[in-house]
Symmetry: C2
Subunit: 309 residues, 2 copies
Amino acid sequence: MITDIDAKLLEKIADLTGKPVGAFNIRKDSGCEARQSTEHIEITPKTDGKQGIDIRIKPGTKGEQCHIPVIISKTGLSELVYNDFYVGDDCDVEIVAGCGIHNSGCNESRHDGVHTFYIGKNSRVRYSEKHYGEDAPGETGRNVMNPQTIVHLGENSTMQMDTVQIRGIDSTKRDTRFYCDKGSEVVVTERLLTHGSQEAESDMHIELNGEDAKGRVISRSVAQDDSRQVFHPVMVGNSQCFGHVQCDSIIMGHAHIESIPAITANCPDAQLIHEAAIGKIAGDQLLKLETLGLTPEEAEETILKGFLA
Amino acid sequence: MITDIDAKLLEKIADLTGKPVGAFNIRKDSGCEARQSTEHIEITPKTDGKQGIDIRIKPGTKGEQCHIPVIISKTGLSELVYNDFYVGDDCDVEIVAGCGIHNSGCNESRHDGVHTFYIGKNSRVRYSEKHYGEDAPGETGRNVMNPQTIVHLGENSTMQMDTVQIRGIDSTKRDTRFYCDKGSEVVVTERLLTHGSQEAESDMHIELNGEDAKGRVISRSVAQDDSRQVFHPVMVGNSQCFGHVQCDSIIMGHAHIESIPAITANCPDAQLIHEAAIGKIAGDQLLKLETLGLTPEEAEETILKGFLA
């Protein structure tokens, strides 16, 4: 049963209001709340004893969406889920994942999700996931999410991955890996907010293996209060390729941010660029908004919203 | 005795032709070839059993130079040398180190040099070191240099460090560390060329500890043939400070370059920036020079010279 709290979580993490269009699988508290396959997108539970689902998208599938949100409303629940995506050649699809925890008690609730993509040739995949946690009023349970995303990107295929940690995740260890064939292109946009005493670690490993493969990472983060963030994006060029990593972080309060990117060229025709910056909100930006009538708090909030938009 | 070969090495690594002006210490094949102190700069051999010298620069010393080159003309020689620099307050001095190996045989010759600087307040130090190796005609001895540089930079002092690996060093592991007090500023310029099957690793660790400390690293490298380079510059901001790391590498042949910088902000008023790029020489740059009448080889050489200048 989808409660009001569940509905709010689903809207926050997967922009869902009401029943999704197309294929979907809604996982709630380690069970299947609802599932629907379509003519082109088949969703089946795993049969190898592992938790999770297989998503098979037929070659030539275009303009379809697939929603696979996960929600947890219990305290003390811990799960390890494997979702495998088989995307055929010549597809153009959108996959919306996401995980929300509403922790009803004082114990740790934890979702470890392993998403593996096998993407064929000439396909275009947009993949988005949002992570959000909250405690029931008066409760203190920790919310933990460790998403792992492994993508095998076929020839001339593209993947756009948008991954967002909205707020309320006490601890996260993100692991994202791309293996890019000839002519393929990946764009990863990561946005991450931590507050309180939260900890976030994001490892990213992008291998540009095929000729003319392209990789781009745009990582933006805000660390507030006493929170800690560590970024470790790695771009490896094994052929004639182009890779660009850009990390920008806003540091506030007594937060700690570490950005440790790596670019590795194993081929003289690999062109790799990295940029990173850590700093606080510029004083003149705040001042400008304040002269427009915003309070200091509103000015700060406006800037952070724009930065993480 | 300084031979013709030695004289050429000294010119290459320390721009020395003839006897240096001011204080100097010329180390040859693990012995002291010549030494001179001045009124303000005292050079004494270590008395604690270690190889090396102490360099004491009196407070207020201005406009003086100190040369401490090291040359090795033997094959199979291996040495570990400690040079400690005590620079008083209110100094303005230039220190020229550098190491050259002319390997006369088929064995490995190796210089491990540990330079530690204790720099007082309001001082200005320019420090340069050049590393160069060559084999006698027909010989194949490996030339190894592992320089370690540790700098304690006092309040409002500045250090400009220029470190260059010209060529001919088969293996190097460079370790550079700066601890920067309030108002101090360090600028490190690193230039490094590897060729053949050479290997180079450069670790750099700059801690901006005091308020308004500034750190800047400019690293430029060229990796030719099958050579391998790994860079690991780390800039840590522990106070209101500004740090900037810039790494540019040209990759050629079948070389391998890895650039793994890290910026770490432990204070919300730390502003840290990193940029890195790896790529080959731009084709249009080559073309432009060729249209001016240069051969492809000359065009390449001209660009590399400019890049490492």
